[in-house]
């Protein structure tokens, strides 16, 4: 199979998955969800008011029409209006993307650089003390709740020691920096453990392959084996892992943004959950799913460019 027909096939497979995701979202929000009339109109609503509201929200229409409406939003991103702020949701997303990215992009770069470097280092010294120590530390750091990191970090470093801003945000390039440093440090600490462990196991999978033994038998140096042979082959899983993180950069950090009052998408989502703002939660769910699907396709296509064997599967 050549590359183009593979890409086409992969794109066609997106359709049933996207329809499935929309169906799941439709089941959760349109079928199982309680009637929003009580939520929006309060307990003293008249029957006419409820009927008008149902018509406005489109939930008096038959289920198949409601389902099609969900599918439509997955393509048009026309999510309608927020119930609590009455703003257009797409505008909220556009406004929130910047602050979210100002945290997640540096975080993404720093975490992955640190994790991959450390993973390479410890797999070079595999089985030695440093390897075991790093593994144990990363497991230990993974075992603490992310909420505990945020609570403790904000209390201790920002409130007690006053090293960082406790909360708040200012838009514009140099202005936002003091506000995002602490969340970034905390999330590097949170995600460093699982990332390092993953990269280490991926690299170790390659270290025991036959081609490494062959290279060693030829007299290739250990450093050159690590970078020229092992890292190149380990690139496939590493690439997948890195690329699939990209759509979530826009969505921001669910917990940290709320705690540090950063007006990003993570904070918007938390606020929507607290105020029972169905359309916003629905929009965020659709947005993240669509992002995940698109980047899934990109990874698969990159896979086949890197490793032509994949196309046969």
């Amino acid at each position: 199979m050549n590359l183009y027909s593979y890409i086409l096939r992969r794109l066609l497979y997106v359709i049933p998955v996207l329809l499935g995701v929309c169906f799941l979202i439709f089941i959760i929000f349109n079928v199982v969800a309680p009637d929003p009339a009580y939520l929006l109109l309060g307990r003293h609503a008249t029957i006419e008011q409820i009927a008008t509201l149902h018509r406005e929200l489109g939930i008096d229409r038959p289920f198949w029409e409601q389902y099609l409406a969900v599918v439509k939003t997955a393509f048009t991103f026309d999510f309608g209006y927020s119930w609590s702020s009455k703003q257009q949701i797409w505008e909220m997303i556009k406004a929130g993307a910047g602050p979210s990215l100002s945290i997640t992009v540096p975080l993404f770069v720093i975490t992955n650089t640190i994790a991959i470097s450390i993973a390479l280092l410890v797999s070079f010294y595999r089985g030695k003390f440093i390897d075991k120590a790093v593994l144990l530390i990363s497991i230990a750091m993974m075992s603490i709740s992310s909420l505990a990191y945020i609570l403790f970090g904000q209390y201790f470093f920002a409130y007690k020691l006053g090293l960082f801003e406790i909360s708040g945000y200012e838009p514009g390039f140099p202005h936002f920096i003091p506000y995002v440093i602490l969340p970034i440090i905390l999330y590097v600490a949170i995600s460093w453990g699982p990332d390092t462990r993953f990269y280490r196991s991926v690299i170790l999978d390659e270290v025991y392959q036959d081609y490494v033994r062959t290279a060693r038998a030829k007299g290739v140096g250990e450093l050159s084996i690590m970078f020229k042979h092992v890292l190149k082959n380990a690139m496939i899983p590493i690439l997948t892992y890195v690329i699939i993180q990209i759509p979530f950069l826009i969505l921001g950090l669910l917990l940290a943004e709320a705690f540090f009052s950063i007006p990003g998408l993570g904070g918007i989502t938390i606020k929507a959950i607290n105020t029972s703002d169905f359309p916003v939660i629905k929009a965020m769910t659709i947005l993240s799913a669509v992002g995940f699907i698109i980047f899934g396709v990109i990874t698969d296509v990159l896979y086949t460019v890197v490793d032509p064997r994949m196309r046969l599967k």
């Binding site: 799941l24 909420l147 609570l151 939660i281 799913a289």
Partner: protein, 299 residues
């Protein structure tokens, strides 16, 4: 004639020492590993504490006021008291019951869904396989945390919400692995032998193939268990957590308002309790994988 047969019988070599089975090998590996042994003991202690509180033998009076509001940790109050003057230590102990319950129920739900779907897809292949693969691809396309939040949010507050929302969101990984393993095993000799003896599909799946891939289920169990305990904290923070009894998640969540007053002991106690069991499960999961994964055998 008879003596000849007897001498022949005598020359038959003595019964050889049986080679170790997968489980024997795994057991001996884990017993040798001190860290894994400690982790196993820690997990056992937590389960024991949870059972004791469940039976009402210890920490039954966690709701009782034992001292002033927000008393600092001291000899009288090991981990201090909370806003209502309740002992944080007893709440932490009682929280173990909640955590173990969440871990067990979540793992059980994900085990049932994941194993059933995975086994059916792997065994029958064809259209069923396509359907199951489509289903879990769809499920995993919505990020875990968003799906969890959406389901929990729609179901409303309550303990059953925590169980169900965590259970139905954590079966995909297991399903994928079981499908792959069943595919590998369904044409093995023992499986063909079972068919030759007249075993039906279900008997083959449940009596023959699943016991042979049970190590996958056990490794996955420890993974689901600890991630459920961690996810409960996030649900608690969103106000969708366990109601009416203490959990580590609600304790951590409560402390967000207490920290500004310098009340750190609730956060500390819950984080510590959670840290120890999650760490133990992580170490145990790694040890089990090393011990049970045939690919790593002898490395």
């Amino acid at each position: 004639m008879t003596t000849a047969t007897e001498t022949m019988n005598l020359t038959v070599p003595k019964k050889q020492k049986a080679s170790k089975s997968l489980w024997q090998h795994a057991f001996s590996t884990i017993v040798k590993d001190k860290l894994a042994c400690t982790a196993l003991i820690v997990v056992a202690i937590y389960f024991f504490i949870a059972l004791m509180t469940f039976l009402g033998i210890i920490a039954n009076d966690w709701g009782a006021t034992v001292g002033p509001s927000y008393a600092e940790p001291s000899a009288d109050y090991i981990f201090g008291t909370d806003i209502f003057g309740r002992s944080v230590f007893l709440k932490m102990i009682k929280g173990a019951e909640t955590a173990v319950a969440i871990g067990l129920v979540t793992s059980a739900i994900s085990l049932v869904i994941g194993t059933t779907l995975g086994a059916l897809a792997g065994y029958f292949g064809g259209l069923i396989d396509e359907l199951v693969v489509w289903f879990y691809t769809t499920f995993s396309s919505i990020p875990f945390i968003m799906l969890l939040v959406a389901i929990a949010f729609i179901m409303g507050k309550g303990t059953s919400t925590v169980f169900i929302s965590l259970g139905v969101t954590s079966w995909v990984g297991l399903c994928r692995i079981v499908r792959g393993e069943v595919m590998k095993h369904k044409d093995r000799e023992y499986s063909q032998a079972a068919s030759a003896l007249g075993a039906g599909h279900l008997r083959k799946i449940f009596k023959h193939i699943l016991p042979n891939i049970s190590h996958v289920l056990i490794i996955n169990f420890s993974l689901t268990f600890e991630s459920a305990i961690k996810a409960e904290v996030i649900l608690s923070y969103l106000g969708l957590g366990v109601q009416g009894r203490p959990s580590w998640g609600t304790m951590i969540d409560d402390s967000k308002l207490e920290l500004a007053r310098g009340v750190w002991w609730q956060l500390g106690a819950a984080t510590l309790a959670m840290f120890i069991i999650v760490l133990a499960f992580n170490i145990l999961g790694d040890a089990l994988r090393d011990a049970l994964d045939p690919k790593l055998k002898g490395k």
